[in-house]
Symmetry: D3
């Protein structure tokens, strides 16, 4: 019995040393990063049994990604792509500081996963899982990936597995209208929606505050749970009429990439562990704040560390 199965693209992430620029660097730090595997890894570190489904080239670079994810305790279930032209997606991350932001350059077109069909994948783990999770990045990768995403959500739903979905809008992959159309198709198969405020506004055209957004989404699409995330201003969750809010925990940010995924991984793992909506929000927020102190996409933290943050800071839980 698996707790969480996720499906999506994981890339190699290349970063020059801090202060150095891509234009002249002699050295790149290498990490694996991708929204869905980030969620799986955070949840695995927090004690869940997790499986990550994907398609990767049968090459040292594909194996590099698998090797790192397994080091976090994630079980990997990979469709290995033997084609000569199969490639991993990559992204270049250059750390910045005010007034120059952290910069990301994607080189992900034609990655192996863009060709992933349902038949390529071993979907058995989905049937046995408590939660199946993917995000709005995956259907944006290619038409094939979109078709597969929908099919997997349907399959999960059919098997009684709770489905969770984060909008994760990426403007470099598609337009808000394209995203919105796809989102609406997928929403029919989604139980738990994670909706960043800005994505909700940009793609779905919703106004109002987080509570209004959550209400609107839940009533329109009949989600079991809606979590609206507001970046530095915390998160709000709505489930069955119950509303909970959570501010962020203060963090000395070393690496902000993956904060949202850490939140989702923490939230889901606490829910699976029987936590209340409020407890899960706090757990997610604590996981996210810890992530910011750590190099790389992944929240490599322990349950004890998360508990400490939650306990020390319980006063900051609002509402």
């Amino acid at each position: 019995m698996t707790d969480i199965v996720t499906f999506g693209e994981t890339m190699l992430r290349f970063s020059p040393p801090r202060g150095d620029r891509l234009e002249r660097t002699r050295e790149l730090d290498v990490q694996a990063g991708g929204a869905e595997s980030n969620v799986a890894a955070a949840a695995a570190n927090l004690g869940c049994d997790t499986v990550w489904l994907s398609k990767l080239p049968a090459s040292p670079l594909g194996r590099r990604i698998v090797s790192e994810l397994e080091s976090y305790g994630v079980e990997t279930n990979i469709a290995w792509d033997d084609r000569d032209e199969a490639r991993v997606g990559t992204y270049y991350l250059e750390y910045g500081g005010e007034p120059r932001g952290t910069n990301v350059i994607y080189d992900r077109a034609n990655a192996a996963i863009t060709t992933a069909t349902v038949d390529d994948l071993d979907t058995d783990p989905i049937d046995d899982a408590d939660v199946f999770y993917t995000s709005g990045i995956t259907p944006a990768l290619s038409e094939t990936a979109a078709t597969t995403t929908e099919a997997l959500l349907q399959r999960a739903q059919a098997a009684g597995t709770t489905t969770a979905f984060d909008l994760n809008y990426r403007s470099k992959l598609w337009s808000p209208d394209e995203a919105a159309e796809q989102y609406r198709d997928l929403f029919a198969h989604v139980d738990v929606l994670v909706a960043p405020v800005s994505d909700t506004r940009t793609c779905l055209g919703l106004d109002g505050d987080a509570a209004e957004m959550a209400e609107h989404l839940a009533s329109t699409y009949d989600f079991e749970t809606v979590v609206v995330t507001r970046g530095g201003e915390g998160a709000l969750a709505l489930h069955d009429g119950d509303v909970a809010e959570q501010s962020v925990f203060a963090a000395d940010t070393y690496d902000a990439i993956g904060t949202g995924d850490a939140f989702v991984g923490g939230f889901l793992s606490k829910r699976l562990d029987g936590g209340t909506l409020r407890e899960a929000l706090a757990y997610g927020a604590a996981t996210a704040s810890l992530k910011r102190t750590i190099d790389g996409d992944v929240a490599l933290v322990t349950p004890a560390e998360v508990d400490t943050v939650v306990a020390d800071e319980h006063d900051t839980i609002s509402r």
Copy 2:
């Protein structure tokens, strides 16, 4: 003629790169660190003749520690332990940031020094020194170490060498009660006590503010000098009825480990140089603030640098 002799354990300190976690690091930075050698090294950098007594395995790892301390100008006087099982203590330091603190993992059990008897050591330098210094860590290491600590303090006292002692309570080594009992045995042989407020409260059960603590300690145990340190809130010293206070100098903290030892090294070296109680406190505080900008346990600073901090900031010397 030596200015300061110290006795205690020095460990190899291993740290992953900032942002990285011990769970997955591929690389560790190596430094030597231990309260008593930190004091000796700070004082040596500030111009004192210092000798550090200890027991280490006759191995490249034992020599690694000696080599680093001699690079700071500390004279080392080592009982070399030839046993196959002789080991150096080690500690792992993982830098954190809010909300995850800097984490220390000790692996120091059965280090060579836990077997150090008076007969193992060449104690002649103690007789010729102005000050003999050790801390509450040393007697906590083993019964043998405790016996040796007491014997060395006695010997110093007998030779007319001023004895200085920092409580340095370590909860991972013993309980407050065990510590208190030992402290009280040693206090009879101590002239200068350095008492962190929290240790004083936890182990000796003293309440009140720093001044009250200092008074109480001085009158109860007949110390020549008591210095109560209050972390970020500065220090207070009492000597012969004279009281001086010193706030901390602001610092961009790169590495906080060893701050207290830097303070003691600075304080003692200024006293030996004829400084008043107030001057010594300022000198100690300045040394401590400089230490925080430097990687490693040791305050690798010059007298000129300390003087600059003291001079620039004299307004912050309170009282």
Copy 3:
């Protein structure tokens, strides 16, 4: 169904940069290394399902070892030791070159595994495995470890799992006589013996060439298979009267540590895959030669790479 289960100690291995000495290094490379996990990792890289059983402290250092092994695809099954004093074994590896050899310093006393009882461990995977493997290092760690080693071999035998054992004599852990006495106790439960020539001579007092040793061992202790390894001079295997020999494949040695374990991992994986005695020897020798080109204890190689070495060099297969 698991192919190979191994049991033993894995340490953190610390190495200064090449050319640097432990006496003055500022930096250590970190890897996980231990005979039995090296075998499991080599076999996992070569396509086997492998499980590694051990006991480790519930600390970032214990998790560091698990994380690396899982990155190689090894399933880990750990008795987590919660005691404050639980520690990982460590070893320091300093690369040398003629006339100064590579130097290893162990700091492994009192590692968590020395307290591992059968009850601590989840031994179910042994029953379902094709092969259970451990080596002469494990029983040398402590009396408890010796008792547990014997019990696990017995359990494997009872379950019909083939048992494999490498003498792996370590003079820093026990004397030849102590080892020999223990070996003889264990031999009753061993099906496949890997016997380095020098260990065989030193501990068991056997003379003669590899063939004679193999014959003597097989007839005396009734092993199913005996593999006598001769370092740079290759290996000889005896199974059911059949004898095969294999010379070593030439290698540009970058890191020799773990060569023998890579050989065993390659040999066992080929046997499990239905290879003949000769094929398995060649596969083991090729895995071992590839290992020597790779930093760290583990043969991080693919079956295709091993096949290429075997094919290119088949002429060097003697006999």
Copy 4:
């Protein structure tokens, strides 16, 4: 047609890792740095055609400097010094943090450029340039360098090339009186003066605020443009009776060295591109703030990055 020609010394800059001290470092980062080449490199990155004139030893170290500058797109025009004793200037930069400042140690005496005569140099690019730039460091290097500096400014002026000069007073090279005397000789040939407030006060003895200084300088020495820079308090420019002011843009400072040169590079490139006095100040300030986020002396930034800073922050442009 070249936009900007600069003349001056560029040194190799050696820095230990952050937190480490020169007293014990094992490793130095290497960069090329010098006021005039910093200006040329910033301007080149911002789209100008720039040429840097200098004299360097015909050695790998001299070529190291040229190689780095050409990597920024600066054209180098070097008098190669074949003498055995020819050397590059070097400087050691140790990063600090409060209360220990960043420390610079120069080892630049007798660098090849101190022997640079007009005849050594290929001055043709000056005639074809829009702007010729040098700073007060160059004439301070040696009498020969001072003579050459004056001759080049004269030559530029004769050719109708705008001349720009930054006081850049360096107390380690000469006294305020020596500097002032030299400055006054050179001012006759300078069109655009960049005058740091503190240098103006120290060397030229001017009081008053930036506007008063600018007025006084312009009227006394008949400069076309005067830019008074006030460190963290921004800059003020006076041109033809027109006054513009600019505050600094906030920056997370990673490396402050070269901030002033980045400002000049940005200011000049915007003026050459037809920008108003105000636009050029903003462009310079934005370039300077970006520089502070980057390791090394040089503002390795793009015009788009500078435009973004200017646009985002236009409200902070005062007056």
Copy 5:
């Protein structure tokens, strides 16, 4: 007047530390590498004025390549590709040692240069150059690149610029038959052919020794000069009936990548400098042997270093 113009793809080259494997590396060294820019850089280091034409994305990654090449003194003339999907080619280089070879993984499909048309490029430098050089890699990249390659060779020929071409067959880009057909089309516009023996055999089906190959190629396609390269066995050149041979100079190989390009760069620069066929072969071979001692694709060597190798070893010049 430019000496050599080259046209082709340059990639970012990523290498893990020696001994480490791509499967688990945390760090990649970054260099720029491509046959035609390698030739340009070698020639520039040896004193030629060289220009490299190419098409790159207008991104930090494209600029990274340009920055490195300009650091070698190569003038770059780039068609900047503004499309979002424009990418640089990359390749991963893993150093090996017997029995595991150095491994290269290309990820170069759809690089910006595959869309480079003659209209994209500024071809003026070709008209003013002594030599125009490209290799068989360029037409293999795409049909567009093939068309452009032929057009540039024609243009060079029309302008009286000597054309040089290295077969450089890459089996991962096309089949021998496809290559041969393309080669034959291009040969009509080639004056100097560099023909590796194995490519000549594989693609053009020629047998015989180097002299016979050279004769056959020269007489069939009417080349002015043919240089047949034989890897470790040296090279043979034929020009106007004159034949010269050159064995390789012994080298401690640190990095073999780019050896052939270093040879071509050395050969062409000596020919341009008026060297005889024999002198040019020796110069090329010496440049190639020096390259092998240097990290990266490029022969970063001086004319003096090449002369020393040639002089010391003149006895090894055969024939």
Copy 6:
């Protein structure tokens, strides 16, 4: 009582990573190196009490050198030079491989030691020492240094301290004739001469084999001991009519710099320990061969390591 006092210059040594070139390196390794301190450090590592006399700038760079030497256990006795212009000598070391040799670039002119007078130095340790050692580099640094060198040799002689001198001819510092003249002046005060064959030939014009050279030198200048070193061909010593020879021990060379100094350090320490001429030669040769496996100028080895080399290889001791 000190065993050996040495006097000479120590420089900071800067090396790019292997395979990288000074022309483009981003990083330099830092070590302290100088013939006389290399000898002192080797001897200290081998158990001698050693003192190194020198003059250094009172700066972090001067202290960097002292810090490293004290880390080897050398006692330093420094005349600190407070002048602003005081500098340390530096040298750049670029590792090569056939056909490109290891390259050294000195930047040592005007180092503080060139101004060292007898009055600057604390010469007391010389009087109490067994051996005073310096080399032909020191008098070549400046006239002042030459005068001081002679005065110190005289003083040692007067005090009954054995004087040892290595020709160490450096062609970049002076001509053979200049050296020879100086050597002859100094020889009157030298007891033990170390004479590299090539220096003997170049400067002193001696022909013949090592034995003839030794005879000639001993009889002409009345040395107590002459050691003629022949690089890869070993060494020959003559003392009181007794002749001993020693071939080199094979070594995998990682860093050849300092080999000769290691030899001298080993030779002298064995002589001081009562070793025969032959034993001392073997000890010196073993120390030298170990040095070649270690990064940096200094033979950081233990007596046990040297003994092992001597014992293992005694067959290679010729004659």
